[in-house]
Amino acid sequence: MKILVCLGNVPDTTTKIRFNSDMTRFDVTGVQWVINPWDELALTRAIELKEQSGGKIEKVTVVNVGKIDSEPTIRKALAIGADDAVRIDADAADSYFIAAQIAEAVKSEKFDIIFAGIESSDYNAASVGGMLAEFLDIPSVSSVSSVEITNDEMILKREIEGGKETLTIPTPFVAIIQKGICINPRIPAMRGIMMARTKPLTVVPPADIQLMTEMSVFELPPAKGTCKMVDAEDTDKLVDLLHNEAKAI
């Protein structure tokens, strides 16, 4: 059995977001890149499943759509414990493009379980997992917060309004991973960091996929207004400001 984990290379969540002067391009100057947090949780769970499987899961592969500058992020995934990696040598343009590229690159290997983070922390499109399943013509389960393998049966739990639902599913399938899948992402150990050098990282050329969207312009949210302090005793003034100025009540 083989697991594939889709890996996004995203700016660290504390990055100060800037764009070029005509607001058409994200300014990557000084940005620290990390594994997309949901993908990192998915990877951690995939490695745990492999470790618990008693050899039934033979490998965990990570796949990324990105240029060479995403390789440090990929090698971190190898250091955490992935067995090998595939980098599709193209800019990650949009969800459709990413899903189509991954589908093309991995369809021949027939992975049994595919994990995709529910969204990426940069563009938040939340659609690669579902699209990938469609391209591969296999089922997908969204918002998965638990994956267990018991007696060869795949038991998934999903977050639903007011609780969780449990379901079983035959392989192959795509699980779209939500928080809760594991407690914390795994920290790479020294041995893992050392071994990451020698693990295979295959670079494949992108398939000929036409883009369906074109990015026009970015907008930053409006700057926060100044905070007005109202005396705790002066409730009339507070109500007046909320009603007439903020128009919140």
Partner: protein, 379 residues
Amino acid sequence: MNFEFTEEQLMIRQAAKDFAERVLLPDVIERDEHAIFPTEHVKQLAELGFLGMMTDPKYDGGGMDTVSYVLAMEEISKIDASVSVIMSVCNSLVNWGLETYGNEEQKEKYLKPLARGEKIGAFLLSEPEAGSDATSQRTTAEDKGDYYLLNGTKNWITNAASASTYLVIAQTNPELKHKGINALIVEKDWPGVTLGPHENKMGMRSSDTHSVMFTDVKVPKANRIGENGFGFSFAMKTLDGGRIGIASQALGLASGALELSIKYSKERKAFGTEICNHQAIAFKLSDMAVKVENARNLCLKAAWLKDTHQPYGLISAMAKQYCADIAMEVTTEAVQIHGGYGYVREYHVERLMREAKLTQIYEGTSEVQKIVISRSLIK
């Protein structure tokens, strides 16, 4: 010249930062207050390979360079210097000493479990009357043919209770003075080894410090490191590397205090603006940042010299003295910037200040470093 870190070095720094923030930070104040040894934390540190990170992989270590070690020590020390001192003693003193000067049997038996982090080591040099003056060892290792009979007391021993492998410096031939000293591997649970009470320290309270008494402890000759009389030289050479560890720890205390001060000064308002906009505070931050940058560069230069097999004793002494002294200055300013909040525990900086003080004292006081530095200038 190239100031760039490798991808692996950056990965190690990030791993240390993640570990410190995720595992150490949540209970660091409580462990400091009640002097609780970080048993579970050290176990995880060992599983990640930090306790033997510089040891050769053929002895089950991580095989990382000294630059990586400096980066990891800085990140862990920003959050918890009690844990980083455990890491420093294991890596720079015990493991390095055994790997460099031990024989293959000693490495197989003692170094491998230490490098895997299954066991912890301690370095026993200081005595009640021989701290900085390491030549005046009163602990004796009397030559009894096929074993040494060890008697005496060692003081201020980091990891004394948690360690199972001790490297003990003791005098065999007093008439030969420092050339009569030997370094011996002693197991803590051997008959005649007794721990003194836990020291109630000002800082680094979560690390265990005790005196250790030896009463007629039989140490096999096979446990002597190097030739007869090599012990003083062993201790001095090992401490050269140890200084890089403690310098990096002091660096981490200073850079941690600076980060907390920047954050606080951007949040705290006084006289209608964030206090970082007041020149009195802004210039303090500037002075602190320059000192931290200098300190980091000294640590990294010492590490680079060691990694490239060049003499590093002088620069490591400079790094130890400078980093420890600026750690004291920077953490004191951090408390000042935090005002009243800096004087209470939940804001961390008072702990960093208490911990910084020790870096000026242990593994060679700042004054001893100045002896080392000045002697090399005028010799």
